[in-house]
Amino acid sequence: MALSDGHAGRSEHALLQVRPEVAERFAEVHPPLGAVAALAEANRCLYCFDAPCAAACPTHIDVPRFIKKISQDNLRGSALTILDANILGASCARVCPVEVLCEGACVFHRYNQEPIHIGLLQRHAMDAFFQDGAVLPKKSSTEHTGRVACIGAGPASLACAAELRLRGHGVKIFERQELPGGLNTHGVAEYKLRAVDSLREIEMIRALGVEFAFGDEIRGEAALAQLDKDYDVIFIGVGLGEMRRLSISGEQLSDVRNALEFIAGYKTGGNVRVGRRVVVVGAGNTAIDAARAAKRLGAEEVHLLYRRGSRQMAAFEFEYEDAKREGVLFHWHTQPTAIHATESGEGIAAVECRRVKENESGSSAMEFLAGSAFRIPCEMVITAIGQSPLLELLKSLRGVKLEDGRVQVERATGRTANAKYFAGGDCVNGGREVVDAVADGKRAAVAIASVLEKANVRGSHVQS
């Protein structure tokens, strides 16, 4: 596949080192449907009008339509129906929390209970499409002259860039890392989506003619000014930043890892080291992913600490259930107060914890129970208490307004306070899911295309 940047000729898959033990221990949690099972499942769908499943999908995939096509043996048509709404349909089929999205809205909950397995059917169609060579038809034969830059190669930018290319616009994506995909490649649990499958999907987008620059972090006035000069429109899809710190003593020890590092380490960094006993701090989906990964990598005991109760936990219910089943130990109303080093001073000996007084009022004030201090011996601590926004970068974007560290946009178009800048994904929504980033990216692309096409008619540039 022809590459259009400095890394010409490089195969992304070759850059990715997946350790054999990862492939083995991170077997898929939702194996694909066989052809007969897919047909039977597709035939179960009622083909609802104005289907609630489609309404609940952030990218509004026409679910009954693609399912009907599976049952009619039109797998290519099915895949194109999916891709028309959601270019990362293959990833989404695997990573979407369908329980709270499409499948959660299926009328079968009120019929005979078991909803249609939309995610698995979507995967069935997408797998067939990729097996067939993943050839996408263009939406327009016109090549426009406008140029768009996307910052970050995560799902938001990828969806934006793909839609723009399909409509005949030139797009280049700037990514600070060596591999594209953002958290879809580096963050999502390997047993849901393998990094290689994320990259395979991006090859399809690259084949449309989207250009990529890797190892190219956009930072500082000069870089932004250059971008501003070279491109008509800029899409910001930078996601969120670093994991928040615990700010307790011992946090500087080398076996205190943040969850993103830890997950990217085993997925794309070739680092599968894990402690025999691991303490994970936090109770969001990321914490759960890290805990389950630690188990798979060989940890015998995985403790998860959360300062509040199970009802306030941010993780999805089904993620919590799965983690319990896999043997993760949950400590509610528990806060780490210090990390103790081993005698040599290098390794970790234990985490010092205290019980937090139960507080259902929702206020964030934390009160420790007297005399509740205890230690959990462990060799590794993984922090997962949320990502902070990329404030430094976002603040340097001229004319772009922020609120609570999130880029402010017009929802339907993704347009920021600066008409030349559009944004979408985690940096706008505060950190939702891949499918939300795709929806944002596509909506922005449609708006950008219409701006560029109008500007083209007038023969002028987009004014910022």
């Binding site: 009622l46 509004h60 009328v107 929802r411 929806a439």
Partner: protein
């Protein structure tokens, strides 16, 4: 209805002389190919069997069957290009006598088809009866292969031939003679009348329907594929039941055709069978269902029928045989002043909106989605709703970001959001039944009678009175 005190009696005496412990017979087809099969079938509970058609031995092709699958269900209809028995006549005759010897109380009917010569028919009738047949069935129905040789439906489609051959057989036969009718004819009564004139003691209907079930879209060869070619075959199975019922009704409502009738065509369970009895049949015959699931299906046929008869208070088959015939009228005699409208039972609705789209595109645009939003003017089209949903912004619910757990807010009276429960405009509803038919939930849409304050009046009555009438199609 009063419950019967004793278990209903399923035994029948068909065409005056053929006793059968129950009215379920296997039709002349592969399930009755040989003695070993027929004996196993009797052990399983079948009351009778019509032996696979005897005649001059033939050679069959391979492959022979194809089917119509529908919505993931296999074999809604079955098609075959098989001929009559391919076993030597003497072997069949020997096995018939063996079966009769071992199962004297079961009905063994022997199906016959030979060339249209009086001698040939006399000979085969003699042979079948000597072997112990309780009755004879003349196969005037096979629509493929045999008809090209002047037999089967080639006879069944020409009333004169059918009458002549029936008369030849009657010259010789001592047991009841049934004529098996082909449906591949404009008016099935013409041949039924001919058979009656020829002296037939009973009829069997229907045989298979001419069909091409489908074409392989890779090879472009219709199915079943015989070395790259195919031929039209005979269609049977659940798909043909409505056609068979209609023909049975036609024959049974016509005095010149009416004879004891063995109903055939798509019978798969006791309810199908009950319907054939209600239209006047005395026994029923089954082929496809037995080919698909085996002889064991007869257990529920007898059990289910007996339970229903007990519930209805029918002591035997004769007690309800033909009861529905009086309820089949010509269209011109139906009451034009009877009106029903659709009613949606909100508490059962699951919100699929299939009734809505069916009424808008396939009926009279009188179901609306305006319980919450619209003024009820009925002008919002389906496309408007779809566009609205597509334009709406949906996000993954994340409690942390959305401010607490998203508990359901507002008082929704039903399990399905009110906005998704369709509403019927009863003043516009013509009572066509379509919405009820498409609704996946049982009894969620019912058709309710509306009193329009007029006495019953049929088209015939109305036009006799000279009242200006809207032309109905």
């Amino acid at each position: 209805m009063s419950k019967a005190k004793v278990a209903p009696d399923l035994s029948v005496m068909f065409a005056g002389k053929i006793y059968s412990p129950n009215p379920f017979w296997l039709a002349s087809a592969p399930p009755t190919n040989c003695g070993e099969q027929v004996m196993r079938a009797f052990d399983a509970g079948w009351g009778g069997a019509v032996w696979k058609t005897l005649g001059e031995p033939i050679t069959n092709v391979s492959s022979r069957y194809s089917s119509v699958d529908w919505n993931g269900q296999r074999m809604m209809g079955l098609n075959n290009i098989e001929l009559i028995t391919d076993r030597p006549l003497d072997v069949n005759l020997r096995e018939i006598s063996e079966v009769k010897k071992r199962y004297p109380r079961h009905a063994v009917i022997v199906s016959l088809m030979v060339e249209s010569k009086r001698e040939a028919w006399h000979t085969i009738v003699q042979q079948a009866e000597d072997a112990g047949a309780d009755g004879l069935e003349l196969n005037f129905g096979c629509p493929h292969g045999m008809s090209e040789r002047g037999m089967g439906s080639a006879v069944g489609q020409v009333p004169e031939y059918a009458e002549m051959i029936t008369a030849w057989v009657k010259e010789k036969a001592r047991t009841p003679v049934l004529v098996k009718l082909t449906p591949n004819i404009t008016d099935i009564r013409t041949v039924a009348r001919a058979a009656k004139r020829g002296g037939a003691d009973g009829l069997s209907a229907i045989n298979t329907i001419n069909s091409i079930t489908g074409i392989d879209l890779q090879t472009l060869v219709p199915r079943p594929n015989v070395d790259g070619k195919s031929s039209h075959g005979g269609y049977c199975g659940p798909a043909v039941k409505p056609i068979a019922l209609n023909m049975v009704q036609q024959v049974q409502s016509d005095a010149e055709s009416c004879l004891p009738l063995s109903g055939i065509g798509g019978i798969s369970d006791w309810r199908d069978a009950a319907e054939f009895f209600l239209l006047g049949c005395g026994t029923v015959q089954v082929c496809t269902a037995a080919m698909r699931y085996g002889y064991r299906i007869v257990e529920d046929m007898t059990d289910g029928l007996a339970n229903w008869m007990a519930e209805k208070g029918f002591a035997n088959i004769a007690a309800f045989q033909g009861l529905s015939l009086a309820n089949v009228k010509e269209w011109k005699n139906l009451n034009l002043n009877y009106k029903v409208v659709a009613r949606i039972h909100e508490e059962k609705c699951i919100g699929c909106e299939l009734c809505y789209t069916a009424c808008w595109d396939g009926a009279h645009q009188c179901i609306h989605l305006d319980r919450v939003s619209e003024s009820g003017n009925g002008h919002t089209t389906p496309a408007t709703y779809e566009a609205r949903s597509r334009a709406a912004i949906a996000v993954t619910p994340i409690p942390k970001l959305d401010g607490g757990m998203s508990e359901r807010v507002g008082a929704e009276p039903y399990a399905t959001p009110l906005a998704r429960i369709p509403r019927v405009d009863e003043s516009e509803c013509v009572g066509c039944n379509l919405c009820m038919l498409v609704c996946p939930v049982e009894n969620c849409i019912t058709m309710e009678r509306i009193d329009i304050g007029l006495p019953p009046q049929s088209w015939e009555q109305r036009s006799a009175l000279g009242i200006p009438v809207k032309v109905q199609h």
